[in-house]
Amino acid sequence: MSVVGLHPEQLIDKLEAGTLSDAERAQLDAHLRGCTACRMDLATRADLAQDAPFAFPEQPELMLRALEPQESREPPAKRPSTPAARRSRQRRIALLVVAATLSASGALAALSNRRLSWRVWFRDSAPTVAQSAAPSSGALKGGVRRKALAAVAVAGALATSPELPRTADTSSVPVTAPNVAAPESQLAPADRPTQPNRAIGLASHKQESAAAAGSAGGV
């Protein structure tokens, strides 16, 4: 029996069962002298046998729950729909609608103010900023997004600025900005605004805002 290639597993089994004869023991010993793997096998068995047994956990609920078939698990009980519950639900929905409207109005107002301040600031400094800002490939790719933002800026300015004429024709301006502009997470990595490109994007955005505002109202 080759020491390396074959291991006397039957003899080890007999040793484990306590049925090893003297001749077999001698045979096993001869193998063990040259085989570290079998020595390690037997030594580890002896080591593990000394470990204290681990007690059965006394928390069977978790595993028994896992045993239950999915269909037998009761769905959460529906609460009875009383008139009072219905009224309460309607009240909650009405409150949610009011809160959503207020939030939207606030957001629009904030957006318009920002666009207006940019526009006013831009009226004085836009040419120099626009000339100094070299268009990046990322900024060029975001053309649709810039147009949408410009449209929002124009709409906000028209709605709030007393300086702007109310007769401006906005029918050609895509005011459906949220639907047109892709969210940043959906843009290609090159189109994602990183810190250095942000300034360039802002400058080119201002340039376009000015152009859009100019075409709308001749600022």
């Binding site: 085989c35 030594a43 470990d51 045993l67």
Partner: protein
């Protein structure tokens, strides 16, 4: 002698048949049968889990629960082709080895954490240190071996099962088990060659 052996074999067969019936009832959703089955196979399962993870592993309790859940969830798929205890033990071995591999990955990520959570305890005696080292080497090897080989070697070393019992538990021919054990031992031998300190402790003492 032959009569005693045959009667023992009959008893073992009857016990296996009874346990198989119990496993099937448990798999069909009988919670009492499930509890009874888990209690019956628990000594082997517990030995496998503790054997793979060690008694001081910080996640031992969690892995025990995971093992019991895994066995419970696998019972509906039990066809009775192998011994129910072997079936449960193999599941326990896989769950425990997976937990050990995960712990090893985390240990690699954070050596500092490993130093406090998974380090070998301070041992009073060299003998105990040697025991822990041997167990660690065997556990690491079982976690690294291909699944079939770690099944075969793990059931033999952790549970002391014979080749026939491993074959019965795994549902594969005896020679396949023999081959898997041989390959696993070759891997063990190679591993030992890289651990001279451990190799020195394994001096043969007839």
């Amino acid at each position: 002698m032959a009569t005693v052996e045959s009667s023992e074999a009959i008893e073992a067969t009857d016990a296996a048949a009874a346990l198989t019936a119990l496993a099937r009832r448990a798999g069909a959703g009988d919670p009492i049968a499930a509890r009874h089955f888990l209690r019956t196979v628990w000594p082997k399962i517990g030995r496998v889990v503790v054997g793979v993870l060690g008694t001081r592993h910080p996640e031992l309790e969690d892995v025990v629960q995971q093992t019991l859940i895994a066995v419970s969830q696998a019972l509906p798929a039990f066809r009775g082709d192998c011994h129910p205890t072997g079936y449960a033990s193999r599941i326990a071995l896989h769950v425990a080895l997976r937990a050990r591999r995960k712990a090893a990955t985390r240990r690699a990520r954070s050596e500092t954490l490993a130093r406090y959570s998974l380090s070998e305890p301070e041992l009073a005696h060299d003998e105990e240190l040697g025991r822990e080292r041997r167990k660690r080497v065997m556990r690491d090897l079982l976690a690294e071996l291909p699944e079939e080989q770690s099944d075969a070697l793990g059931l033999r070393v952790l549970l002391g099962w014979s080749l026939e019992e491993v074959a019965l538990a795994s549902g594969v021919p005896l020679n396949t088990v023999r081959s898997r054990v041989r390959l696993a031992k070759e891997a063990l031998r190679r591993r030992l060659e890289s651990e001279p300190e451990l190799l020195a402790e394994l001096e043969f003492e007839p």
